[in-house]
Symmetry: D2
Subunit: 344 residues, 4 copies
């Protein structure tokens, strides 16, 4: 049993980590911190954890010894504290956006200010096992992933890996997301009467997760268009690009099958009949799967790659636990076996 601590544990990402790690057969959660909820039981903030844990939120200044630290702090915090945190445990997984990008200039362009610890960027591995499995096995510092970037990157991965995508043409990523993506704190736009039933294209361009797609997929012309819809957990990426001349649908099948065969949490969803013909996030709530679909207009080469994930699982805490499994030498799927529910 290894010991794990969750720093910044009152948000949705921290809660999901608590759920996963508490049920993980090789992990003992020794601490969860929250300044705001100091002294409260963790289950008072994460009510699904009643009868699952008796941990209370503690002060992040008073750290218990642990093997792995999960940092689930707001974006921009960890880069100022990394020298401290890095000394507290052998393994560190930071779920914020702070250490996802390798290039300080790319960070500054998309986040609007210089990175506070640029020397640390190279020490981190980008925490998506489907992209960096081998590097993760020997990593000590791992970043989290952006949920929208993850949906997009996994949609594109088979096309990129098989070199089927025309990289000179623009890639347009249309992402639809649920409300949990906005975090656990309320704001005027998350007020239920205002948020219920919305179809709100709130960011036509410029979403910060674009940087992770540029970095990981090697794309230059790529845009993310973000639309909020009425769901709590889940994100769907519908990605439009163009294949290289001569690419046929069977090439896509081969590319997707190959990637899915190598990755335990990827599935192809492309049925000819029935009502579950395409990837849909709703049945993925709580699961670590990414479901992938695709289609091709052979006349124009317009390819549509689709990926559905649970933004709190494969898009955040699930991938982080999967990374921990790789870093610590556990089975990659350990503690992540939940299949998701149907109906839901």
């Amino acid at each position: 049993m290894i010991k794990a601590s969750i720093i910044g544990g009152s948000g949705y990402t921290g809660g999901e980590l608590l759920r996963l790690l508490t049920a993980h057969p090789e992990v003992e959660v020794v601490q969860i911190t929250s300044r705001k909820h100091l002294g409260e039981y963790a289950y008072q903030v994460h009510p699904n954890m009643r009868k699952q844990t008796t941990l209370k939120f503690t002060d992040p200044e008073m750290l218990e010894p642990a093997d792995v630290l999960f940092l689930a702090l707001p974006h921009g915090k960890a880069q100022h504290q990394i020298n401290d945190w890095s000394g507290k445990a052998e393994y560190l997984i930071d779920l914020s956006a702070d250490f996802r990008l390798r290039d300080p200039a790319l960070y500054e362009k998309w986040y609007g200010s210089p990175h506070a610890a640029p020397d640390w960027l190279d020490k981190f591995v980008y925490g998506l096992p489907e992209l960096h499995r081998e590097a993760l096995r020997s990593a000590k510092y791992v970043s989290g992933v952006g949920c929208n970037a993850t949906a997009t990157n996994l949609a594109l991965l088979p096309l990129i890996k098989a070199d089927l995508l025309d990289m000179d043409k623009p890639v347009i990523c249309e992402i639809k997301t649920g409300s949990s993506e906005g975090g656990a704190s309320e704001n005027p736009g998350s007020h239920h009467p205002e948020r219920s039933g919305v179809i709100r294209t709130y960011a036509p361009y410029g979403h910060r997760h674009t940087a992770e797609i540029i970095q990981e997929m090697g794309l230059s012309q790529v845009s993310l268009t973000m639309t909020s819809v009425d769901l709590v957990r889940g994100a769907l990426a519908t990605v439009h690009g163009y294949v290289k001349p001569g690419t046929a649908l069977k090439d896509l099948w081969q590319a997707y099958r190959s990637v899915v065969a190598d990755n335990p949490f990827l599935r192809i969803v492309k049925e000819r009949r029935g009502i579950y013909r395409v990837p849909e996030p709703k049945i993925l709530a709580g699961s670590n799967y990414a479901d992938l679909g695709f289609d091709l207009d052979p006349e124009t080469g317009h390819v549509i790659a689709i990926s559905a994930i649970d933004n709190l699982m494969k898009g955040a805490s699930g991938s982080a636990v999967q990374c921990m499994n790789l870093m610590l030498g556990f089975d990659e799927t350990l503690g992540l076996e939940f299949s998701g529910l149907h109906p839901i």
Copy 2:
């Protein structure tokens, strides 16, 4: 054309008044006030009013002359300011809870503090036309109504009026409500990920609207149990009581038909087949109707009276405009003709 002003116009009740009065053929809205949104266009807060009005929010201290003032302030404000407001217009309709109760002791019991202007309580007429139509025709001061009280009072009205209810037995009112009832300001419980999909019996007893049912229905043993569900607009009251011995279903039919015949915004919904057999709030969004249903267990005398309303219309602003129509001598239904939508 009469001139109307809305004091405290940035909330949901104020927005609904703005919508109704702007479209009302006999009314010109001359002012809408909001300290918080001072100087903003009203349509920036009530986006359905784009191209409907060019009014901006103004300072409540700077009042335009008007014939009717609608006060849509937070509960507890108007009772401290009533001497001021009452001099500003010939007609005053206060939508808060401040002047709904006639008895200062009843107010203090349910609201937890003494009323600040007890002498004014007698000057107000309770603003539900189905209960006080004649008094409203000559009233200058009219109170609003509690939405949950209104759903319950209208469910019970036919039974009370026909003297069919056993007043010695307890009446249990189970009320299910949408999220707009909580007002336009966000709070942790209204955050979409927390509020979506809830079935939350948040108040087993003690809801303040109980006082209006006691007062208006003459009931002594009555309790309100409040459950939040996933809907924005709408409230359903399912009211359990006992009929007097000898009461048959046909007596109920007669009682309900009689009340519905007298009231343009009441309808009986009690079909034997199809999917619209009982009152449902969802099709009432934007309409001023209250739909009434009932059923009787002849063995036990257990009667269930059901009433569905739009909490912002018949439960607040719609009834207020209906009162204005009566006070000013307009047709009672003027400006309130919208039928509601299906599907929705």
Copy 3:
């Protein structure tokens, strides 16, 4: 008062026509037909019409004299019956897809079979006033519009009219829709447990409404990608294209302002702050407005045009009534003044 009849009145489009025409000050609805619901009151199928109409569904074979016939039949019916229907009233508005396209070859390509009455195609005017206002004023035969085509066409209209769009580059239309678009009949995919909370890109390409965009916007490279989301009424089109070199954001502002000034039911929604910054369908339920937004990436020329509508109003019955107003010489907005609700 003119007399109007609704043929095929039990679906959602027919119900919306009944609602609008019943409340229309210049129209008397003399008949609504339904074979399936023959003899039932219209309000038993359209429950919002209780106390609004006492019409019963009648047999379409037994036609009352009327000035205007609205055909709200399933797609593919009217083209086989047009010779009959055309003789029954002076004005005919067909809401199906049968007479929207002028070119029989375009029809056959997108609908998969030859048109049954190709000679009639030229006699119809495409029923979107924003595109054909003048022709509609003298038309006797008017087609309906596809809801997704309408959202897209209105999003693009300002760009096309001001000749700002690079017509040689592909236009990708991402459309998100509510469940009422699928009609009033249930199917496995519309079962609530399966349909609630979905984000389902059910048609990556090939939606039939594409043909109306090709025809009306003169586009050749255009694709529609359809995604179902959790909402009943509403459609949002997020349209990706490229502007001609040298086009700046201020040119877009001018183009949109110009089109909005000419059309009573178009509005620009593009706010810098607040939560209502972009077009959203939810507040349009029941209204005939189309809200338009746009944004430009000046580096790449990537333009995103957004349009929100109520698919049953501007996308179907609302536009049909607006057409009737133009055909009959009424004020164009008559009977279509409902502003929509907020919150909803």
Copy 4:
């Protein structure tokens, strides 16, 4: 490893059994039958089971040898086939309503026709471990439970067990349910545009599950009032009764604590602050917990007992697997450890 088969596996109850048993460490699912979906992969009907199982639906006539049979057939089937099924495996759990009641007269009263196998009624144990744990340990035939009955019975259990409830006074059970309770087959009322956002008191009295409350709680005066709300999984029972004179809130605390201590899947939810103060079904999706709350009006003795469950888990398949664990001597909670999700 024991072998289990699911007869009638294409519905929601069957799908949930498949999910639970596939992940159960002591069970191998050897067969799942469906005439309607014969030959299809189980994951085509239960899409959460992709990559979890490669079973196909088989013919119920062609039975594999198994230790436990789960019958998930429509109500009314099993009683005609029980002599056949009972010979096919050592253990049989029937999830339908057919063998829940011990008294044939009670069955006939609530189900409207005589039972087809009254001799079998005594051989079955009612499958709620919280009521019949010891009997289940040695049972061969176990019935399922009604979901609404279960929510109600668990709400009342502490009061009944501690003898605090005045059995001479009526007990009114107000139950709010999600849409999955209606099963996997669509109908006009389950069509998303009609079902979304409903608050529909569809059954004021007479719900068949009442019989299970009468039988298990020993109540004579009890009524169930059923209201559908917008949620897929979940049921909340808000139960109104009266305590015996002299009963105080602390007696209730003691009664609930005692029952919760004895039952691994019961929890008390009664917080003074925060937003998770009362039992709510949404966070129970996929979990086997029943969350219990209560409150007392000391003036009148009016007690409100609240219970939230996932209707497909504790209200159906979860309890069935819990019964299997007891029958087979496994740990009672085995395979049922999933905590539920938050947010959801």
